[in-house]
Amino acid sequence: MTGHNDAVPTGGTPDQPDLAGGLRTLRTVIDSRLAASLNSCVHCGLCAESCHYYLATGDPKAQPAFKVGLVQSVFKRYQTISGRLFPALTGARDFDRGTTDEWIDSLFGLCSMCSRCTLNCTVGLDITRIVRAGRTTLAAMKLVPSELQTTVDTGVQSGNNMGISKQEWLDTAEWLNEELQQELASDSILLPIDRSEVNVLYAVNPREVKFFPMSLMAAARIFYAAGESWTFSADYYDVTNYGLFSGDNKAAALMSGRLQDALRKLKCRTLLLGECGHGYAANRWEAPEWFAATPEFQITSIVSLIADYIKQGRIKLNPSRNTKRVTLHDPCNLVRMGGVIEDQRFILNRAVTDFVEMYPNREHNFCCGGGGGQLSMTRFARRRIEAGKIKAEQIRKTGAKVVATPCHNCVDQLSELNKEYKLGVEIKTIAEIVSDALILT
């Protein structure tokens, strides 16, 4: 998902989209790797069952090859010689309102960008990047579903995707700090803000700040136990990046850039990404491409850092505090597309007494259904819940009472699945489980 090709801003409105501008954008986002992919699909159809949307519904339009075909047909029509000469033969297709409507319904409405099809493609097409190229094209024409677009806009305008004011953020941090000081009988600052020249700048999901601050306290407890030198930034702390999902590279780069700037301003050594799948993929893997620059600092997931603490003996855990059976959901963007695969397992094996895998797992795991911006797009909520059936069944088969997952976006979708499919489980982040097992001396 190299994003050096910014969406070319076009005129037009959602009602009168600038189709020519959209085509210009498509041309710029198709780099050599994508063009190779688009020239390689043989429509074998074997990818269908890798997709949870297809598995859950059997809708032939949900199969990845169909989504690839939507973009491929337009690519052929305007960017290949045979497609221009023989459109009917090659399945090349004009880019018109009918096409954009289908793209919106399919590329936004039937894909969580989980990349399971990419891993399973018999040829090796980067299907997720093809879908994202389509989304970038739609973004340039202002055709991103409004619920997803407002999440991006809120992030761009307020500095975080929930529109939390700076005062509210500082008040919340102070409140949590007081609670934690009381709990740990400590008078040092346990949730530091804007401390400079420390090791770690910690970025989190704004939903933790607004609605679910227990996980912030859990992380602070772990840092306290490990003796970590760390800080939050008063200005920019949002690890999420919905520009990755809307396809808008300019917004995406702006948001990731703010985290990088906050780190440079505070002269920290490590940008520590909270438990967020797409936030990891965006900031760890995509942002360097958006800026065409290798960051001079480390970018790490808190999952990897916690695993290091355990390995180095910086924190000690008592697993008998977590005796319920725990299974693990692998967030696609952290695991399959992120490469953080074993650390969460290493941790759980030491933080709980009864850890069981669900199957398939690791990079083969199924998406919870909440990725790709699906959680924000209410208009596609029914499909999201229905597609989540695959994950629900995976969980049910483990007999687990707790589902651990290092991603707050997954937590929310899993919570909905828990309710819808009556799984009777608790959903927890890794930090929360570690915090519960932490031996504080």
Partner: protein, 216 residues
């Protein structure tokens, strides 16, 4: 110029055209976008590429293949038949004598390939799920290759069919760059990129060692 030598010349021209067109297409796309990546690798691109072309090609490597064994096997036999037919054509053009036993083997391989090709075509046309992702090119490419296999088989039984074999071969070569058969070169480019992507991110090749753990 005799009809036979005209066909030979035509075949040579078609082969050169196909090679030039495919080379042009690969070079053309290689100019698009930026080449270097800036994220710090977590794994090894070269190991990922090696995996992509070795263990990653095994039928056990991908769930999509494990779930579709008959299609995978048909595809494998189809491609093997095509390679056998190309080999057969090359030997005929070079007037290399082939021992009868080998002729028989080649013929069987091509026949199995032909049957597989027809089976895949029927699957594509019969299943709604396949029809919706198919274009005329998907059908035509299959038919042209099936014809190539059929004439190759017939040619092994009667050398008098050489003009037919040459004619169909010319048609095939002319069609390769136009439609999906271009994957004969793009497959390798895409596969390479696949290995680079998952290798760089530290996802593959570790997966292969963990196969037993991952899936049940």
């Amino acid at each position: 110029m005799t009809a036979a030598s005209a066909l030979h010349l035509g075949l040579a021209v078609a082969a050169i055209y196909a090679a030039v067109a495919l080379t042009f297409m690969v070079l053309r796309i290689s100019t698009l976008g930026r080449k270097s990546l800036f994220s710090r690798p977590a794994g090894s691109e070269s190991q990922g590429i090696r995996y992509a072309f070795t263990q990653g090609m095994m039928p056990s490597a991908k769930e999509s293949v494990r779930m579709h064994q008959p299609t995978f096997i048909a595809g494998l036999l189809y491609h093997t038949g095509v390679f056998a037919a190309a080999f057969n054509l090359l030997l005929a053009l070079l007037h290399v004598p082939i021992p009868p036993a080998m002729v028989l083997i080649i013929r069987v391989v091509m026949l199995v390939g032909f049957i597989s090709g027809i089976a895949l075509l029927i699957k594509r046309l019969a299943m709604p799920k396949m029809r919706i992702i198919s274009t005329p090119d998907d059908v035509i490419a299959n038919i042209i290759v099936d014809l190539f296999l059929a004439t190759s088989i017939a040619f092994t039984m009667s050398k008098t069919l050489e003009p037919w074999l040459l004619g169909i071969s010319i048609l095939l070569l002319l069609y390769i760059p136009i439609g999906k058969i271009r994957h004969c070169v793009f497959f390798f480019v895409t596969r390479l990129n696949f290995g680079r992507l998952f290798g760089r991110r530290g996802v593959l090749p570790h997966a292969a060692e963990r196969k037993q753990v991952n899936v049940r």
